[in-house]
Amino acid sequence: MSRPLDGVVVLEMGEGISAAYCTSVMATLGADVIKIEASSGDPSRRLGPFPEDILHLEKSGLFLYLNRNKRSVVLDLDDAAGQDALRALSSRSSIVVENFAPGYLAERGLGYEALSRDQQTLVMTSITPFGQDGPYRDYRATEITVFALGGYMSLIGDRSRAPLKFGGSVAQYTTGLYASTATLTALHLAEEAGMGQYIDISVMESMTSDHSQDTMDYSYRGFVRERESSRVPIPCADGFISFSVQAHRYEDFRRLILGDRAEAEEADDAVARDQMRMEGDLDTEILQWSYDKSKYEAYLLAQDAHVPAAFVADMSDLVESPQYAAREYFVEIDHPEAGTQLYPGFPARLTGADWQYSAAPLLGEHTEEVLSELTELSAGMVAELAATEVA
């Protein structure tokens, strides 16, 4: 079966999460993603998690997840031959995605201006913490510091304790996803009207544009929203659940928690208009209902009663989730070094297309193959480039 991005060649020059996730989405959709790595490899090869916690460049869980379905080409971008090879590859590409520090590629004659000279419909996307200009352009950043500047952190956590970051690296993933959408938006125009362009996308702006209640509160009424921690999930026998009860579900909610008593006791109409009060009002009863049920059982009972509910799922819950199993969301991928592991699949299905997964590439695995296939470089030159010692 065909895939929607069949025939699209994407060059990825990136380190870590954002660019890799951006092109990983494209790779699943069928693009031929060529990942350019230094001979030392993408730093995420050193980040793990590793089987038995033993560092190994071909066994990093983060790298394996973000780079499946791609080919790896090792090029030294500080070297003239490496730069020539890169330009030769980009002239055959529809898309270039990179997340180096601003200016890094331009200094090596590999910026948008240079690369688009030979490929006028090129779409090139740069992902950085702060963008290509502005006073913070050269600021250092990690997940937590840009999450803080992006305004999310001030909204999460207890008022009496430090603001919190989300677990994982969701700011970088999010920006990677936005970059894939923006890049494919531009690809549409490039293919329809022959117009290429350059896209500058930043993590800080991705974060700041994401959460709107607090920015609108401030813009519309000068109100600075503080972080709240008022509704703590409800304990069950083996974990926690929570409800998201709206006014029109209040009767369903009362019936779920109170059973027969719901009919006998009159509901307070004022309470039904306030979600906090709806749940607060029945605090004791909710605990009596929940404490001896498993989180999954309580969640199913609530949803069966039309009460929007969730449980706090950990990784083993997800791996064992009947819903994920029914949709075959997780996939097994076999890798020559890391063995067969379980990976997240892809979160969307599309009529007429089918997703396939091949393992992340070994460092430099495809240098010779890709350079011979896509460039006019002489066999001798290709052999020389492919002979670069890796890590």
Binding site: I144, G167, G168, I199, Y218, S242, L342, P344
Partner: protein, 427 residues
């Protein structure tokens, strides 16, 4: 095409989108398509306006709902710019008939209803395809269109729990409560548009539209891949670690001078550790037994955090950030909305946009994360008031007569005000 005229072109010009989205996820997808130039028609009804017109959580100009409050909330106006707006009673046969006429002349439909709604209206993909073979239906389901939990109702915050994010978030000693931001919604909007663009490319080759079956829950878990691999490789279930990091130390959020003021600091290398020690006037710590290597710093984080907090506590959060950044250490002030609006960097990059809304006046909105060199994206029109473009869509596009439209208004199929029941939020 001349260079000047090509500058005017937007990426998705010429496409028409029917946006049935409600709340945040669906309208965010529609907003993205509208920003990029697609003619995007937001479809609501008098009985079911977008819930954020009603559940505005007090976000009105100066806090005043005023007249026509349903057009005045920042919650609705931030998410629906560049769209046209109509009302159409989809529960009525006549409403669905008009909707089908729109489907025949459109490219994309976006919806984030629970998965029974489109079928109940007999507007599921196979039926829509009979009307228009090229139509692309993007269904932004909570948990996908199939599977035992597919009919369950959820919202952004519940999807963070179901998708695995909440378990990984929070102070180690305290379960995290539910907060007011909902990350899965904008993520789902972006993924839906990615899929729409993929489907458009597929359609160019095959002439066939497609049904996009998106699971917002899976979309959340897809951002936690390394934790899935950790479970697969080592059988380990990752737990929350607050503001700390598996590898880096020091790594945290530190109190600064002033009310509820904080700064996030992360040290990635030994070199940065040296710079941090010098910046905070503690050069003797650099080679101290407890702190010399990343792993020893990791072991002694409590002591480290106390030393750093002592230094930050008497300083302004922005000054701390600037001073550490000058030294080459990653630091970021914890921004409130007020800080974000005042931030010199976002201003220098023209991030904020001032938009004049018909019923909400001139307000400032967050812009977009992507800056496109040839087709800069701007707000060309504000969020439509309820039913603002009924005339254009029903008369000009569908060719109804003035009498036909009057008839639709008289029977409540279209209109510009929510019904009394809808205004109470009991919809």
């Amino acid at each position: 095409m001349t260079a000047t005229s090509s500058k005017q072109q937007l990426p998705l010009e010429g496409l028409r989108v029917l946006d049935l989205g409600m709340y945040q996820a669906g309208p965010t997808a529609g907003r993205w398509l509208a920003d990029a130039g697609a003619e995007t028609i937001k479809i609501e009804s008098r009985t079911h306006p977008d819930n954020l017109r009603i559940l505005a959580r007090g976000v009105y100009p100066d806090g005043e709902p005023g007249e026509r409050s349903w057009n005045r909330s920042g919650m609705i106006n931030v998410r629906n710019r560049n769209k046209l707006g109509i009302t159409l009673e989809m529960g009525e046969p006549r409403g669905r008939e008009l909707f089908k006429q729109l489907v025949a002349m459109s490219d994309v439909i976006v919806e984030n209803f629970s998965n029974r709604v489109m079928e109940r209206w007999q507007l599921d993909y196979p039926r829509l395809r009979e009307i228009n073979r090229g139509i692309i239906l993007a269904s932004m389901y909570s948990q996908g269109g199939t599977g035992p939990e597919s009919s369950f109702v959820s919202f952004g915050p519940t999807l963070e729990q179901l998708g695995g994010l909440v378990h990984l978030t929070g102070y180690p000693d305290e379960l995290q409560g539910i907060h007011t931001v909902a990350l899965p919604d904008p993520l789902a909007g972006s993924m839906a548009v990615t899929m729409v663009l993929a489907a458009l490319r597929q359609r160019r080759k095959s002439g066939e539209g497609a049904h996009i079956d998106l699971s917002q829950r899976e979309n959340m878990t897809s951002m936690l891949g390394e934790f899935v691999l950790e479970h697969s490789m080592n059988g380990r279930v990752a737990e929350r670690i607050g503001n700390r990091d598996q590898r880096m130390a020091p790594h945290g959020c530190y109190r600064c001078r002033g009310e509820d003021a904080w700064v996030a600091i992360a040290v990635e290398t030994d070199e940065q550790w040296e710079k941090l020690c010098n910046a905070i006037g503690q050069p003797t710590l650099i080679k101290g037994d407890q702190f010399e290597t990343m792993s020893s710093r990791h072991e002694h984080q409590d002591e480290l955090d106390m030393i750093i907090s002592e230094w930050t506590a008497t300083r302004d959060k922005v000054e701390v950030m600037e001073e550490l950044q000058r030294s080459g250490v990653a630091a970021g002030a914890v921004y409130t909305a007020a800080d974000s609006f005042a931030d010199p960097h976002l201003r220098a990059r023209d991030f904020w946009e001032s938009v004049d809304d018909p019923d909400a006046g001139t307000q400032i909105y967050p812009g977009r994360p992507m800056h496109m060199s040839e087709t800069p994206l701007k707000t060309r029109r504000p969020t439509p008031t309820l039913g603002q473009h009924n005339e254009y869509v029903f008369r000009d596009l569908l060719g109804l007569s003035e009498t036909d439209l009057a008839e639709l208004e008289a029977t409540g199929i279209v209109g510009t005000e929510p019904t009394e029941v809808a205004r109470q939020g009991r919809i």
